[in-house]
């Protein structure tokens, strides 16, 4: 049970692909309405962690709880119906559907809440302009915006955003990040995977750093020095695991 007010909790998670072991005993608790940023170098296991939480990947060991309920055995679509929605790496739009049809498919979980077509269009004007266009004919930034809008259509309790800014121009990333306050205002908890440390520290309530499949640092941006994070990020020194060390 989660008596700590965490909406999503991961305990002792071991996961990977086939013989490749990507996560080792990861513990993570996300509080209601929190914006948590997962940082770490390429291959640190950030995407694997999100995929395991969303159910796109079966973990080797460990448990995942949503609102205190063990959902480890539930399939991915059932987790989406309970409010865990992943924006996958690479956006993964449905290329033969229009933008609006992509959004409509996003409401497949049949969850009710503040998000519908109108609300998504208001939050993401970029998407509204392209609503009738085939989603294969969009720029990378437009695709990412549609992917976020599509996930919001599910009215998630926890939104898992994987590599939002990957391969996008800074000005486009800026516009995407401008939608974050609107998403949070709806009461949605957000877990964000981001490569850009500076941006992370600006928006996050809390930062968790992964290194080679293990949590090596966690804390509020205000409590973490830039050095402590970069050290944890690259594994230069050996910071105390799971604790924010005052520097």
């Amino acid at each position: 049970m989660s008596g700590t007010g965490s909406v999503c909790e991961v305990r002792g998670l071991d996961a990977g692909y086939g013989d490749f072991h990507a996560l080792f005993g990861v513990d993570l608790a996300v509080a209601e309405r929190e914006l948590l940023c997962l940082v770490g170098a390429n291959g640190a296991g950030k995407s694997t962690l999100l995929r395991a939480v969303a159910g796109a990947l079966r973990p080797f060991a460990g448990t995942i709880h949503l609102d205190g309920v063990d959902i480890t055995a539930l399939p991915d679509f059932e987790r989406a119906r309970r409010g865990l929605t992943l924006v996958p790496e690479g956006r993964k739009l449905f290329p033969s559907l229009t933008v609006e049809e992509n959004l409509l498919v996003g409401s497949g979980s049949r969850r009710s809440g503040p998000w519908d077509l109108d609300a998504v269009y208001e939050l993401l004007p970029l998407v509204a302009e392209r609503r009738a266009r085939g989603s294969a004919r969009l720029s990378g930034g437009e695709q990412q915006a549609v992917a976020i809008g599509r996930a919001l259509m599910s009215n998630p309790r926890v939104l898992l955003l994987d590599e939002v800014s990957l391969g996008l121009a800074p000005v486009v990333v800026e516009r995407l990040y401008e939608s974050l306050p609107g998403i949070r205002a709806a009461g949605t908890t957000v877990v964000l995977v981001e490569q850009d440390l500076g941006r992370t520290l600006d928006v996050a309530d809390r930062v968790v750093c992964l290194l080679e499949g293990r949590v090596v640092l966690t804390g509020r941006p205000a409590d973490l020095s830039r050095e402590a994070i970069t050290d944890a990020y690259f594994g230069h020194t050996n910071p105390q695991p799971s604790q924010a060390g005052p520097s």
């Binding site: 969303a54 796109a56 399939p75 991915d76 679509f77 059932e78 989406a80 119906r81 929605t85 992943l86 996958p88 993964k92 449905f94 290329p95 033969s96 559907l97 049809e101 992509n102 409509l104 498919v105 996003g106 409401s107 497949g108 979980s109 049949r110 969850r111 599509r150 599910s154």
Partner: protein
């Protein structure tokens, strides 16, 4: 005038080919299953109609009200019980499952009904026709099949384009793993697609039986070939392409028949091969998705 007549009859024959091809196209488009048992399932539906006639005394047309829903249910179950497991094993496994079905079905029918054709009578409709000009007359039944084909295609287009489940099917054709992340059970969408595919092939099977007066156990082996040729000629994944493909195949066979009674099949195959060489994506096909 005989050539014009042959072309008109060929166009009308395209209706049954088109209805037969829709289900094949849907199964491949949504879940990449190549259904080698397509023709045998059509004939199975024909035999179900025969059975319905014998047991209830319904007319052949009325038997569709029984056969189509029953075959839709069969499709749902075949997907959930056989193909779903096979799909997890790789691309070859579903092919082997449908190949197995294509061997089992005609042999079971042979055992139960003998090799003799079983009649699917449509009464005077079989011979009724309207003379358009001197030497060209169209049969009422062939015209009906073409109308049915258009209705089926319009219905499919509206279903795939306008309904929630239809959108899920197109999304599943693109990327079923991502569809699941949206809270949609892709296995259920697959099974519904199979149900629709089996319903349309059942309709096509009974129409074929009506046109040729009856069904016999091994008719399916040619029908599956026609269905594949129709899909490829029209363009894989293109709904209206199946009608175009059906018409082209029908005309090719009819014109071939004018030259010599032994030629219809050969000319049909040659036209199919020629289109495969010149336009590998088919006449209306642009992409391999619905």
């Amino acid at each position: 005038m005989t050539l014009v007549n042959a072309i008109v009859q060929g166009v009308l024959a395209g209706g049954v080919f088109a209805v037969a091809a829709v289900g094949l196209s849907l199964l491949f488009g949504v879940m990449r299953v190549v259904n080698l048992a397509h023709g045998d399932l059509m004939i199975l539906a024909g035999y179900l109609a025969v059975l319905t006639l014998q047991l209830t005394g319904l007319s052949t047309w009325a038997s569709l009200l029984v056969v189509v829903p029953v075959m839709a249910l069969v499709g749902y179950v075949v997907q959930r019980v056989l193909l779903e497991r096979a799909l997890k094993l790789g691309e070859l496994a579903p092919l082997l499952v449908t190949f197995g079905l294509s061997v089992i079905i005609p042999n079971v029918l042979l055992e139960l009904f003998s090799r003799d054709a079983q009649p699917l009578p449509i009464g005077s409709l079989a011979t009724e026709g309207v003379g358009l000009t001197d030497g060209v007359s169209v049969g009422v039944f062939p015209v009906l099949t073409l109308v049915i084909a258009v209705v089926v295609l319009v219905g499919m287009q509206l279903f795939l384009g306008r309904t929630r489940t239809g959108r899920f099917m197109r999304a599943a054709a693109d990327d079923s793993a991502t569809l699941r992340l949206m809270g949609v059970d892709s296995r259920r969408i697959y099974a519904l697609a199979a149900a629709i595919a089996f319903a349309t092939l059942a309709l096509a099977g009974v129409l074929y039986g009506m046109r040729s007066g009856g069904v016999s156990p091994f008719d399916g082996q040619l029908l599956v070939l026609f269905a594949f040729e129709t899909v490829i000629i029209g363009g894989l994944g293109s709904l209206w392409g199946t009608l175009v493909g059906g018409v082209v195949l029908g005309v090719a066979q009819a014109v071939g028949g004018q030259i010599s009674p032994e030629l219809p099949l050969l000319v049909g195959h040659l036209v199919f091969l020629a289109i495969l060489v010149v336009r590998p994506n088919g006449l209306l096909g642009q992409r391999v998705a619905l």
